[in-house]
Amino acid sequence: MVDSLYGRKEESKSIWILLENDNHHFEHVSLELINKSREIADQLGWQVAGLLIGNGVEGLIPQAFSYGVDQVWIADHPLLDSFNIEAYGAVTFQAIMSGKPSVFLCGATPNGRDLAGRLAVRLRTGLNADCTNLYMNIDTVVLVSEVSGFGGGVLALIEMEDHRPQMATVRPGVFKMSEPDPNRDGRVIKIPLPLTPNMIHTRTVARIVGETVDLTKAEQLVIGGRGVSGNFKIIKELADLLEGDYATTRPPVDEGHVERERMVGQTGVICRPKIAICCGISGAFHFIVGILEAETVIAINTDPDAPIFDHADYCIVGDVNEYIPALIQTLAEITESS
């Protein structure tokens, strides 16, 4: 078997995390990874390091410490202003070869996947994609990655004996963030920058960002399916009343009623709300995957045999257009009277 560029014997006892950031904020998944890594590192007496890449990102260093990293490896340069795989790849490679971490984790975001996919090949090491859990095998001191396949029906536990770093991208929302502690401090290491403009072949020519939708953070989620017949007005109204968010399934996206980033399911968002209210959803397998982690599922559907009822805690056989407006009215009255 081909060796990785460095192996287990040369590893430093540390877990590294790509600290994705945008407009002077960390991506939530990066903070979630710090918390999980802190937990694993504390079991073993290891270090947690954050890799901070960008242009004008020094201001984020104290925040990284406050969330629990011991070291920040920073690359701050105008050519790193927006994500481009050549420059980000070169800087990350440089840092990893100098720090030789045992574990290197990225969020399973578009940029995290891009970077991890390339770096794993460059380092000749293994990569577990879109992990849903991570833990350390305390006996062997090898990282165990849980990967969900086949739409969540099967979980595979994956390990790597000798190749380093042990790489994984982790699905946003599976770990919790910790509360920041402003008294925490750590060490800053500047990564030497081997950057020249001519090494960059891909560039961002336009960027259009509107209101960000993050369904993974919603505690109350109202989800409308085909049975809503495009009437998302009442779905939104109920979501607003519950101070939650609204979401959808594939058919309303295809029909243009709702934007794709609000789609829940295997090819959409995996959410974990306290309450998911499924309105006019039949309950296809691909959708159910997205609400498995909901604490309580309420389903309303006219068809008493709809599969959704097998996956719901409270089931109502009836018309969404009758029950949702009635529910909105009742909830509004309760709110007013309290």
Partner: protein, 265 residues
């Protein structure tokens, strides 16, 4: 030379709803399970076909797997592809991301001067969305990932891809050759074209390449070339739901429902 030489990497996967883990052996029960082309790969095929419609060119379907994949691969071929290259060799079996991307990249090198390599965003059997950047790294070329649309400027040999990011999108420019991963469900794959279906199902549309054809090094392929190993497979626990049907008048049900929502029970 065709105007655009394209490759589409495709995979045949078991239908996810039929997959079960054998509780005795801890392995997947693959028998009796129906397969399909990994759905995101059909979006990749459609994107390639639209470029072929526009500029003319050739589309080579590449897949790594056992011989039974061949029948499935004739479906995208019947949509308007030109040829199938099936990378089939027992030495390729058991490959993880590193070995898979190496093997696919060897085939793309052998095809020679491919302008665009399309992949689906992920595969349903392991969701390894890391294959496209891995191929790009082995080939030392650019990558454009999770794009829902692309335009190609042939004289200047650049592509522009619309890439979805949180809350919006960005337009990324990259030079040819490039690996493009296509956003799942970003287009509607066309049906088979029945005027070419009989052609597609004729002998000679498939070339089988083994390890020697690819001049692939043993230490990089299959199980041997895979640093990771699956230590355990488990059936995901199904969360037991209460399945309580609320009955009564609309008012009674709504009243009960509002208490559940407010109090969590």
């Amino acid at each position: 030379m065709p105007i655009l030489k394209m490759a589409v990497c495709m995979k045949v996967v078991p239908k996810p709803e039929e997959i079960r883990v054998d509780t005795k052996t801890g392995w997947l029960k693959r028998e009796e399970v129906r397969s399909e082309i990994n759905p995101p790969d059909m979006n990749a095929m459609e994107m390639a076909l639209r470029l072929k419609d526009k500029f003319s060119g050739e589309i080579n379907i590449i897949s790594m797997g056992p011989m039974f994949f061949a029948d499935y691969l004739k479906i995208p071929l019947s949509m308007g592809g030109d040829h199938i290259f099936l990378l089939s060799d027992k030495n390729f079996a058991g490959a993880d991301t590193l070995a898979t991307t190496y093997t696919l990249s060897r085939a793309i090198r052998k095809l020679n001067q491919v302008d665009i390599i399309f992949c689906g965003e992920e595969s349903s059997d392991g969701a390894t969305g890391q294959v496209p950047p891995g191929i790009a790294e082995w080939l030392n070329i650019s990558q454009l990932t999770v794009v829902s649309d692309i335009t190609v400027d042939i004289p200047n040999r650049v592509v522009h891809g619309k890439r979805e990011i949180k809350g919006g999108y960005e337009i990324i420019e990259a030079p040819l050759p490039v690996v493009v991963s296509v956003r799942t469900a970003s287009n509607e794959p066309r049906f088979m074209d029945y005027t070419i279906k009989s052609w597609a199902f004729e002998e000679g549309r498939i070339t089988i390449w083994n390890k020697d054809d690819l001049q692939a090094e043993q230490e990089f392929i299959g199980e041997e070339g895979s640093p990771t190993s699956v230590s355990k497979l488990i059936q995901a626990p199904e969360k037991a739901r209460k399945r309580i049907f609320l009955t009564g008048s609309t008012e009674e049900i709504v009243s009960r429902l509002s208490r559940i929502i407010k109090n969590g029970a």
